[in-house]
Symmetry: C3
Subunit: 338 residues, 3 copies
């Protein structure tokens, strides 16, 4: 069973020609759409493999609406939008809204009326970006920058771009292991959906039972669960280590950092069980000595900083494509360049 089937297929993120007009979730997007995002992101690197700038969003106003604080993610979107020449406004959304007794709907309508073209939305509630795109501001391109435990689709796409660029193998041929706190990770959820859509046949989820979500055993034949790190990592091409949130430690789910490291920390001995050219990823921020040993984090197989740079390219891509999709929907542009 495909992960997408667990949720309402998000057709609302596509315009009538089937192109993106919002970017809310990986679920329900086709392989072609995901590949187009990856190709667009890739086109933002020059021959020296450096990120370029180009004025695809010149004259456009991008508003960052971070209901939940995340300095890092906000910075990546701000950097991406500015590389496309957009006007970027960081809205202190927590302060500007409910504190004055205004409804959230009215606040968002006000921001839209300030001639906003794109909202980048981060919210602690699952489905918040989806709700805004569907019922509040459908004519603003809504980019989901993380909502609750549900989705973190730009993180998934930067992971996919990194896998594609660094392994140089087709997704169909890859074995990918995801290790750690699957239960609380919007990254894991989005990564599995993207990998499945792109054709990956061997996805291994490695975690203690206490950090596995309900229903993960229904993900389909291409997703296998492992409680044992060594078994799960065997002959992998890609290892994605997840961050252990500090607030999980000393809970019933997780005794201690040391305990987690002993069972699931990625070190040299364990990495040696994967393929020799296996790449190692982490969404950051890293807890060195918990999820991953420093020798691995700083070693030749780590592509963790490539992920960060690819994150800028991917965010540039979804910003530009969603804007194009909105303009196409409104009849303001005719076709979208392949």
């Amino acid at each position: 069973m495909h992960l997408a089937a667990l949720h309402t297929p998000s057709q609302i993120q596509l315009n009538s020609q089937g192109n993106l007009k919002h970017f809310l979730t990986i679920d329900g997007l086709s392989k072609e759409t995901l590949t187009k995002i990856l190709d667009t992101a890739q086109s933002f690197f020059n021959e020296q493999n450096q990120l370029i700038t180009l004025p695809l969003l010149e004259g456009r106003t991008v508003m960052n609406l971070f209901f939940e604080n995340s300095t890092r993610t906000r910075t990546t979107f701000e950097a991406a939008a500015k590389r496309l020449s957009a006007n970027v406004l960081n809205i202190d959304i927590a302060r500007s809204s409910t504190s004055k007794g205004e409804t959230l709907r009215d606040t968002l309508w006000n921001l839209e009326a300030m001639a906003a073209d794109i909202f980048v939305v981060r919210h602690s509630s699952s489905g918040a970006a989806h709700f805004i795109a569907q019922t509040v501001c459908p004519q603003v391109a809504i980019i989901n920058a993380g909502d609750g435990r549900h989705a973190h689709p730009t993180q998934a796409m930067l992971d996919m771009l990194t896998i594609r660029s660094e392994t140089k193998k087709p997704f169909e041929a890859l074995s990918v292991a995801i290790i750690g706190d699957i239960k609380h990770s919007r990254v894991a959820r989005s990564d599995v959906a993207a990998l499945q859509t792109l054709g990956c046949k061997d996805i291994r989820v490695i975690a203690p039972n206490t950090l596995l979500p309900y229903g993960f055993d229904e993900y389909g034949a291409d997703v296998r669960l492992f409680n044992n790190m060594e078994a799960g990592i065997q002959d992998c091409d890609v290892i994605i280590t997840l961050r252990i949130q500090n607030e999980r430690i000393d809970s019933p789910a997780l005794a201690s950092q040391a305990e987690f490291y002993k069972m699931y920390g990625l070190n040299k001995e364990r990495l040696a069980m994967a393929k020799p050219d296996c790449i190692v990823m982490h969404p950051g921020p890293m807890n060195r000595g918990v999820e991953i040993d420093s020798s691995i984090a700083d070693g030749p197989q780590a592509v963790i900083l490539n992920q960060v740079t690819n994150g800028i390219a991917v965010r540039m891509a979804v910003l530009a494509l969603s804007m194009q999709g909105q303009l196409q929907e409104k009849g303001l542009i005719e076709a979208i360049a392949g």
Copy 2:
């Protein structure tokens, strides 16, 4: 008696050719000047009625000095300045000034010396922007973004642009009702001044006596007071509902939100007493169910979100015109295009 006569006529906001070089207050400005602001703002809309961007402030530095916090107003000025290609700096003015024992004058002179061209000033004290323009930084274009209970002139101009665009009637032919907390509203004060200057002959101020300021009965023959909502609203072309500040509730001035809604809330029955094409305005943020019923706020006669978009256009206009006036005064440009 004209409202302007209650204050010192603000000739300091005009340069020696009579063009704006600051934008501090509606009081004392001519019908021609107000009309020029409206025309300039209108010119920033394209044929699809969308706001354009254009580089009238390219290379100029706009500093937002919000001594009093107002996320929304600051955002509108930031959006407006960026649409004109200005470099915008949000100054944490509360922190950068007095905390280090520096005088406000020195702080402002320092900011001016950083090659600032425009200060957007919001302050809780009446006359603050006026003071800065007159005695501290006369060569920086000062834009008043709200000072105490005195003036909020960009709000007044966006209201005038909305009235002009949406009613398509001359101001001389309009009956305009302003409802609510007139006493604490810089919007009401500025709106009345603008309406009078633009020729409106029938201005009705509707409020309980406790929310009326002293001296409002001296505004002139074109301003009438009503304690009774139904009488005041009769055959109006325009209704401006004002926000009830939460801090007024449960005071001697205002018993409760429910009480206010019962007496002065705009609902379908009352709106039906106005002309059939009467437009309904609100400066935001709205208290639905207090000043205005949701059926009206979301209904076909509401032009509340148009006000917001017009607010960007009006702020673009006063930023651009004041900058031009400064350059003209300094002899750096010859004439100002009509």
Copy 3:
């Protein structure tokens, strides 16, 4: 003995052709390098002596990393970078780093991977910018915006530009007095180093013994110490008054503001002992009536606001030159225009 000799010569701030690739400290830089910075800064003024804008950093990303809060200095760098068309991101570095258990190194590597070209670094620890440039992010141009008591090199260069522009005499012919809290001032340290390098032969440091640092008597024959204000100021061309930090008052080092003003405050009588065309400088924010009398601060010999404007020009210069030096080092540009 030259001040530079007290520290490790900072060759790391030069690329292999001897051009700046970081800007960390005055120490160890040649007269030619300092003169090039001054000439570049001077080139950013037009014939009306106004600061121009030009797109030398178009497409470049400048990140402000202020580990120690300084609204004013951050604003000057933001204004400078925007005048060069850079994309500027103010990073809430205190929040984005250690709070999540990430190492500072990892945080910086992440920011670099977001395609940052320049970091402007302010830190309370001496040597922080140096450390980042040498061992963490050598390929990002690091600009020191003040580190502990060590250096504040852009302040020194704006002081030098002001002295050169306002006295119109060669540095070799000048007598310069620096008055006040030398012990805790990174400005004093950087100013002395810059003056020595530029050829000044008569530098006078005027302070009570409690505000003199250890080792200042080893600065060389061109630096003389004075406890007596009147003796030190005699026939000076330039007086630099330093800010007394509020936290020094009522300490064993300094009895009171009134006491300091009585002994070392710059007033008319004392200024009359300097040359008639002596200029008066202050790094700001000023404590009027403590370091300097208002009649002097607002008088014809004060060039305090010129310093602020020159500060923008100097910051533009070091941003542009360091970026060029990085590109040259990477082989991306051939030569740097004189």
